[in-house]
Symmetry: C2
Subunit: 240 residues, 2 copies
């Protein structure tokens, strides 16, 4: 029996299968705080609760492609840093049926965040409060624009907490911070992003030194316009 014959006889319906979905944590920085875009559930279960945008994975669609499709369809966006986060597979995480969810983290610039809100008015921008520090992680709080604490559907609070832990962990050794900033930015803006993600103030001279020493920043020679006082130089992210 060669491989072609084998494949013909293989029975792909031999056992019951779970459904597989992707859920997206659409993350940006708004008003100095991390924020996430949520959709209101209009169906049971958890009807009326806020949830992460998601969708089922097509049978001929890779996980990354499914995440990119949900990003387009549910968030009206083409461009964003997208990375796989973790796969949530508790048996009872969805009461309808067995659904395994592969969570993705999408990082949005402030412009992309606002553009998504414009394209999809049903999206809610919710502020994220992270009460813990360090590598352990823990629960996070989600606040509506009216400062009401929201209870997320399913295990989406745990997914969001995982996203914040990942983002904090990668912040200073990877380039994720630049995914939250526009093409051109000042060092102050870069520091603001770091401080918002970490939830802590940073020392300015030390921050500048460390960022410049990394060699990931290219000075443009251009300066911000419209600043009330001395305008800062604009930098661009550029490896090495």
């Amino acid at each position: 029996m060669n491989e072609t014959e084998f494949l013909k006889e293989y029975d792909p319906t031999a056992f019951q299968r779970p459904s597989v979905a992707v859920d997206l944590v659409l993350l940006g920085i708004r008003d100095g705080w991390p924020a996430v875009l949520l959709v209101k559930r209009d169906q049971l279960p958890h009807v009326g609760r806020w949830a992460l945008p998601g969708g089922f994975v097509g049978i001929d669609e890779s996980l990354d492609a499914a995440a990119a499709r949900v990003l387009r369809e549910k968030a009206g966006m083409g461009e964003a840093h997208l990375e796989q986060l973790y796969t949530f597979g508790a048996v009872d995480r969805d009461p309808r049926m067995r659904i395994i969810s592969v969570a993705y983290l999408a990082l949005l610039t402030e412009q992309a965040f606002d553009a998504a809100l414009g394209a999809m008015p049903a999206l809610l921008p919710a502020a994220i409060q992270v009460p813990w520090a360090g590598e352990t992680g823990g629960p996070v709080t989600v606040l509506s624009p009216e400062k009401q604490e929201l209870t997320l559907a399913f295990d989406h609070a745990a997914i969001l907490a995982t996203a914040m832990l990942r983002l904090r962990g990668k912040l200073d050794y990877s380039d994720v911070a630049f995914a939250l900033l526009p093409e051109l930015f000042t060092l102050r803006q870069l520091q603001d992003v770091h401080e918002a993600v970490l939830g802590a103030a940073l020392n300015k001279p030390a921050f500048r030194r460390r960022q410049l020493d990394k060699g990931w920043l290219a000075a443009t020679g251009a300066y911000e316009v419209g600043a009330a006082f001395r305008p800062a130089e604009l930098y661009r992210f550029q490896r090495h």
Copy 2:
């Protein structure tokens, strides 16, 4: 319509579903090198190639439970550090059908590694060579006990590379190194594990200082026996 009625009417067969499997990277340190336990495929596709032990996820089984079951059934083991690694979901990663694989990293002490080999003689202990350094990652090489380079089945080489990257990344801020060591160990053994994982020599006094300053080590007052020369003190892993 309340939630119970809704669930009754929900059609769980509405669309085609992928299969979901778990694959385990059973990792230990042997002769100062990282090593992985492999199984030989006796079926098409990729018959005769070496693969990571794996199994399908049951419809009433969480991902973690499936990984623990595979650990028991395919590796004859009950105890090991087990953590989810990454989910591999390319459409064509398995020619039989669409299979999404949730990879797990299992860390074995040298005793557990040998016990698994004893319990499951079909397992092959293969040495892992990691040619890269730093956070980027890249391909790894797998060598049989006869020093022959092995080609792994499916995308298992990529899974193994992901495992090595994760292990290196977590080595000095987490407790993974202790999962590779017995209950009682010397500082030299701890350093050997770090050096094997990192593939680099470390400075002894600096290593000792850093480990002791972390506060994760409890001196036992006992010393190793049978050492050819001065015996080292035995330590135990203990948080804070």
